[in-house]
Every structure is written in C-alpha cells, then in structure tokens.
C-alpha cells in the first residue's frame, strides 16, 4: 500500500487500508502528499456535510457522536469521524482514547474513524484534518464529524472547518463561563445540553436560551445515553444544512474555510523557508526583530520574482 495511484483508487473503492494510509501521508508530511491531494478533489465534497462537535471533557460528546453515527447509519449513510486529542507539549506524544467509546461501530466498515493528535501546531493540524475530511468524503462519507475536546484555540480553528458546529454542554460539567470566554459559544450553530435528566439541566437550558435566542442559535436537550433527543438533533442539523445551502451561506462558509486553509498552508510553507533563511541570517539577530522580519519577507519576495527555482516541499505545490 505505497503507490499513490493505488491509494487514490483505494479511497474511491472505500478500502480502509488506503484511506488510513492516505491520511497518514498528509499528516506526516510525506513528500507524496501533494500528488495525493491533487487527485482527490472530487465534486461530492460540495454535497457532503461536515459537522464539528466540541465541548468540555465529561459532557458526553462521544456518546452523542455514537448515537448520531447510529442514526445516520440507519438512514444508510456512510459516516466519517475525525477525533482530535491534544498532544502532550512535553513529550509530543498523545493518548487518543475516543476509540474506546466508538468500538461498538468497530466492525462497521461504513464508519470510518481516524484519531488525530494536535501535534502542537494549529495550522498544520487544520490542514491535516481538512485533508482527512476530504479523503473521507471521497470515500463516500456523508456526513463527516470532526470531534475536538476543550476550549483551546486549536479546537476553535479545527471546528471552523465544519459547516455546522455543535457545542455539547452538560450540567455541572465544565465551566460554561470558560466556553463563553473562549468564544466557542459564539461560533456554535447548535448548543446541546446533554444529561438533560440531571439536576441543573433545566436552568442551564434556560440560561443558554436567554443568551442565544437573539443569535439564531438552536439549543436542544438530549439524554445521549438513552438516545433521547438524538432524532431531534439530527432534524435540527438537517434543517440548518438545507437552509444554508439554499441561502448561499453554505457556499460562503466553504469559501471562508477554504481561505483559512489556504492561508494555513501558506503560513506553514513560509515558516520552513523563514527558518531556513533565518539560519543564514548574518549576526545574532541583533536589532529590531520587526525590521529583521520585514527584511526576510522582502528577500523572499525578491527571490520569488527572480527565479522559478523553489525549494518548497512538493506537498504544497
């Protein structure tokens, strides 16, 4: 499973080995990534919906996702999941545990799961996650769900890849204020109050209704463990999706996402080049950092005009 053409063919044939390997190639910065990405820009990407699901630990995201998977599978859809967990800033390693809760779908070949670590970089992660989503869509997944934990900037960035963002909260779990501060609540299209049977759920629901009703954000209550409210959640998702496609908002959002993605790639490409040039920069970088930065950029621009010879990894070509 190492030939790019074979991998691309495999993706369209829904071969798990090909899908898995393709994502690794992008994620690990394999030099064949560019060639691979070029070949998978299929039309069905526009037709499929990308859902982002986030929220603090312990709110029951995995259970909700499990239920959503079951729901979409019942309707005959093939579902993709990109589950993102943070890398340890110390070791660079990560514990990707979302699988445990999704094992009941482990034998279902139409549930494509990929765990990803943030690997300490937001931009790079966005690019890799976006590519993973695209690969899954090409293999026939609709919807693809991106799952992230917590309230960091990395999570917000990743969730921005989604067409519809769902924030999961639960009474007594996680700090709602923290969510507000982090701005996640502002980008959410649907806020789900899970564990709706627990004390505190009603007041949380009311509070959210109060805050969110001016903003056209839906709040809904579910008890994920018993699949209660999941159908309704899926209906909300469907309605929003339909409306947005009709109003053109969908296309706009995709365009924005595309923009973000391109800038991410560009910055990442620049970063390598800047590092390389900085190493060759005379002296000990004494003087005003901003001036040095300006000079580096100017140099690159001149070089770009001067020559077509580029040192950029193939992945970004």
């Amino acid at each position: 499973m190492n030939d790019i053409d074979e991998i691309v063919k495999g993706i369209y044939l829904k071969e798990p080995r090909a899908i898995g390997r393709a994502i690794s190639i992008i994620e690990d910065g394999d030099q064949r990534a560019g060639a691979l990405l070029k070949q998978i820009n299929a039309k069905n990407i526009q037709e499929s919906t990308i859902l982002g699901i986030t929220g603090p630990i312990g709110t029951g995201k995995s259970t909700i996702i499990n239920q959503l998977i079951a729901h979409y599978r019942k309707q005959g859809n093939r579902v993709g999941i990109v589950a993102i967990d943070p890398s340890s800033p110390v070791s660079g390693g990560a514990f990707l545990g979302d699988r445990i809760r999704m094992m009941r779908h482990a034998m279902d070949k139409d549930v494509v799961v990929r765990s990803m670590a943030t690997r300490g970089k937001q931009g790079g992660l966005c690019a890799a996650a976006a590519a993973a989503v695209r690969i899954m869509i090409c293999s026939g997944c609709d919807p693809v769900i991106i799952e992230t934990v917590g309230v960091g900037q990395a999570e917000i960035d990743v969730v921005r890849l989604a067409d519809i963002t769902i924030l999961v909260l639960a009474p007594g779990v996680g700090d709602e204020i923290q969510m507000m501060k982090a701005g996640i609540i502002e980008i959410a299209d649907i806020v789900v109050v899970n564990k709706a049977e627990c004390p505190g759920a009603d007041s949380l629901f009311m509070e959210l209704e109060n805050v969110l009703h001016q903003r056209n954000c839906t709040v809904c209550r579910v008890i994920a463990r018993e699949a209660y409210g999941i159908e309704k959640l899926a209906v909300f998702i469907g309605v929003i999706d339909k409306e947005r496609r009709k109003s053109g908002q969908f296309t706009n959002k995709r365009k924005q996402t595309r923009e973000t993605e391109i800038i991410d790639y560009a910055i990442e490409m620049m970063r390598d080049e800047l590092r390389r040039r900085l190493k060759e920069y005379p002296g000990n970088y004494t003087g005003d950092p901003r001036t040095i930065a300006r000079k580096l950029i100017d140099d690159i621009c001149i070089a770009e005009l001067d020559t077509s010879k580029r040192n950029c990894p193939e992945v970004f070509l």
């Binding site: 070791s91 094992m103 070949k109 670590a117 890799a128 990894p313 970004f316």
Partner: protein, 143 residues
C-alpha cells in the same frame, strides 16, 4: 511543513475477555510519554475489531496484552485478521503471562516480540521504537 514529527502511532489493544488492564495502561502511558501517539481500544475486543481499528488508524505497531492465558489463540487470530485486512506487514508486539515455550512458538507465527511480567518498561519502549522506525521507513517518504 512545520509539523512536529511524532515518533509513531501505536495501537494498544486487549483481545479476549480479561479485564486486567493495568499493564496495558502502563504501557500506553509510557509510550505517550515517550512521544508516541497511542490509540487504546479498551478491554474485551475481538481480534477482528483490533485489526480493523489498526488499519483505519494506520498505526505503525500493534501492542497486545492478554493475561488470561488465551494468548496462543488470540495473538495468532489478530495476526490473521490483520493479514486479511491488508495489514499483515504491521508488526505486532505481545505481553502477558506467557510461558517460555509459547513465546518461541508465537514468534515463529509472526509476532515481533513477546514480553512477560517484570520486563523493564524501557526495554519494551526500545522494542516499540525499533519496530516503529523500521515500519515507518517502509511506510513513508519523508524529506
């Protein structure tokens, strides 16, 4: 691209029915602290579930722990399931309460290495590193 190179992706799985996950969890955590990305399947997985997960996640090594004594059945089953899922090239490392004579036999069947209780964690980590590096050389073309 400025992506931090992770050391590798490992799946730690517990096939069979025993719930003694102390060892599996210690290894999972030690691997994480050693810079690996670890996908843990939880207890009571079938060999087929483990194999399909390993394939979807495109891991570099599969680590298995069995303490019930069913290793002679379960390890080969995982190897077989991996093979059938086109992942027969992924190295599989096993651990558990495993007698000497079984170790030989299991390695002949294709297990990369087998560890028994009391093995220093560093020794186990070194083996995972070695297996990962070898596998990634075949897997990737990295600049």
């Amino acid at each position: 691209m400025d992506i931090q190179q992770c050391r590798g992706r490992i799946l730690i799985g517990k096939p069979g029915l025993d719930g003694h996950d102390r060892g599996a969890k210690i290894i999972a955590r030690s691997l994480r602290d050693d810079g690996f990305e670890v996908i843990y399947t939880g207890i009571r997985r079938t060999p087929e579930e483990i194999a399909l997960t390993a394939i979807q996640e495109d891991v570099d090594v599969v680590g298995l722990s069995v303490l019930s004594g069913a290793h002679n059945e379960l390890f080969p089953e995982v190897l077989k399931a991996l093979h059938q899922a086109k992942g027969g090239d992924i190295p599989v490392i096993g651990g558990g309460i495993i007698p000497e004579e079984d170790i030989q036999h299991l390695k002949e069947l294709g297990m990369y290495e087998i560890f028994t209780s009391g093995t220093p964690v560093q020794t186990i980590l070194n083996t995972f590193r070695e297996a990962t590096e070898k596998y990634r050389q075949r897997k990737h073309k990295i600049i």
